[in-house]
Symmetry: C2
Subunit: 338 residues, 2 copies
């Protein structure tokens, strides 16, 4: 065939491994020919690419739950795309799917890369990357499976204005918890209460975090949903109530794990309060993905579950998008629209 007919794919690759958070310079955008479609493979035209705090860990060399993205490889990401060609019997052209399609325009993948079909046609398919995807499903499953909320529990959430935290707070409220959000700055704190319906919110950047926590949680903290680790967690742990549950869902406040950072020891709190800390990674629970999305979608339709989405246009927005999350500049779940 003539070169004028070769379909080209633009993609974002990792060109160097950062010590801390990946910056724009750690990525490059290139353009290569789309390979022929093998037996059993699918061609996906990506529509929306995800930008997630967890990507920091997927890039890191060690100490994570998945192999690091190789140097020269396409940046790993969830994406929503349309199947444009299928050589697999279970999938057909035209289906909109969520999967591990990476930061690129066109993905050529096996069926294992697909997480599920995007099955809420009345809602934006981009939500499959946020409130109806990794963020919402994490909030729902981590809170219910590890946090074990009961009506009347005091639930404290770090990065409460974020994509996961805001959903945790709203789901906690639906389940009868008293919700206390922790966020950085008066704008986010205001939004936690006014938009996401937290019963109280605390600005961790202001003076007096310890006192604010005691005041907001007079009976102690029954559930701490921790997206940050760091100084915020160190302030919450001494306030745990008896038989408290701490959900370790993320460590956004820690820039790097090499050298490994220290903090106040937690063992004594856990012992004295008969409390529990437990890690949660949503990718262990794909078997509950579709039922979870259906639940979340119904809440969205009923107006019970609000969300924020920040849409950036074009593949060239990718390289700096992750560092921007860690600079705190995003206004909601960050999605790249192609």
């Amino acid at each position: 065939m003539g070169t004028q007919n070769v379909e080209m794919n633009r993609r974002v690759t990792l060109v160097s491994r950062p010590a801390g958070i990946a910056q724009a310079a750690n990525f490059a955008i290139d353009r290569i020919a789309v390979p022929p479609l093998g037996e059993g493979e699918l061609r996906i035209a990506n529509r929306f690419l995800s930008v997630d705090p967890a990507m920091r860990g997927w890039i890191a060399d060690a100490g994570n739950y998945s192999d690091p993205v190789p140097i020269g490889g396409v940046m790993r990401s969830l994406a929503v795309g349309e199947i444009t060609e299928s050589r697999h019997p279970d999938w057909r052209e035209g289906q909109i799917v969520l999967g591990w399609f990476g930061w690129q325009e066109i993905a050529t993948v096996g069926p294992d890369a697909i997480v599920c079909e995007v099955s809420q046609p009345d809602l934006s398919p981009s939500l499959a990357l946020g409130v109806l995807g990794i963020n919402g499903v994490t909030a729902l499953l981590a809170l219910t499976m590890v946090g074990e909320p009961k009506a009347g529990d005091t639930l404290v959430v770090s990065t409460a204005g974020g994509s996961v935290g805001s959903a945790v707070g709203q789901i906690g409220s639906m389940l009868g918890c008293r919700t206390v959000g922790i966020a950085g700055g008066p704008t986010k704190v205001h939004r936690c209460v006014e938009y996401f319906g937290f019963d109280a919110a605390i600005d961790y950047k202001a003076e007096g975090l310890d006192e604010a926590l005691v005041k907001a949680c007079p009976d102690g903290v029954d559930i701490y949903f921790d997206n940050t680790s760091g100084a915020v967690s160190d302030a919450v742990l001494p306030q745990l109530a008896m038989h408290a549950r701490v959900v370790n869902c993320g460590t956004a406040a820690i820039d790097r794990w090499d050298p490994w950072p220290s903090g106040p020891r937690v063992e004594r709190h856990l012992l004295v309060k008969r409390a529990r800390m437990q890690g949660f990674v949503v990718f262990d629970h794909f078997d509950r993905w579709e039922e979870s999305v259906a639940t979340l979608a119904q809440w969205v339709r009923e107006g019970k579950l609000r969300y924020s989405e920040e849409m950036l246009d074009g593949l060239e927005m990718c390289p700096d998008a992750l560092a921007g999350l860690y600079r705190g500049e995003n206004a909601g779940k960050r999605v790249i629209r192609l």
Copy 2:
């Protein structure tokens, strides 16, 4: 009545609150008249007094699971004694009971002070303070309720030669775990393997704890039964296997919690390994005490559960006995015989 007929009680009282571990000088022995027995009360002649690492916390001013022993008060302790007089319908003279009778010769108590009757007449009643009491019941319930052992699990135990640790190892072996003990010095390490039947034992005082752990636990650590906190725990946490359980049962390696000590952060280990850390205090589980003692006693009779007991004679041994535990000088569960 004439003074010559007044029964006298010798008792060990707390005279000053230590910053760290209570030393002999923090206690005094006095002698006072036994009070008249009120309606509903019991008189107990103590036979065996317990000396437990946890007493350090019962003396501390804050951050514990019970109110601190008051200055001038009798040192709180479990003890085994004989009821010599009863004005309570549920209890009668001559019964041997375990309870909160304190470091003294004669206790005058209400029925709430009694934990249970000592019900294994073929075994020494002193065992109700050790392998058939707080230590054995802690080992059995903490391991099964929090550790959730499965056949084939690798179980690591700190202070493996101690009263709790040695029972944890043996019970773990019975449940099909591969057991690895951590203890201080070659004598204790040898005893862990030869007497208590650990599959392997590691001397944390020797060089190369990290390497020894990797070698002893090639598939990682499924359960870490932690009696120590501190440097030993810091070495074990990075070796956790997926879905590991850490039982926080004691913090013997930490001298004081004021100022609060720091250590390597655990959150990332828990997240990456989807692991759990949980505190356990046996006093929450008195409802399972008698069934647990019956199980443990049967294992003792069958020779499946070995123990060490170190008997010290006389009330005057009490004041230095606790500090001696922390000096590591005891050879088994320390009991004061009156």
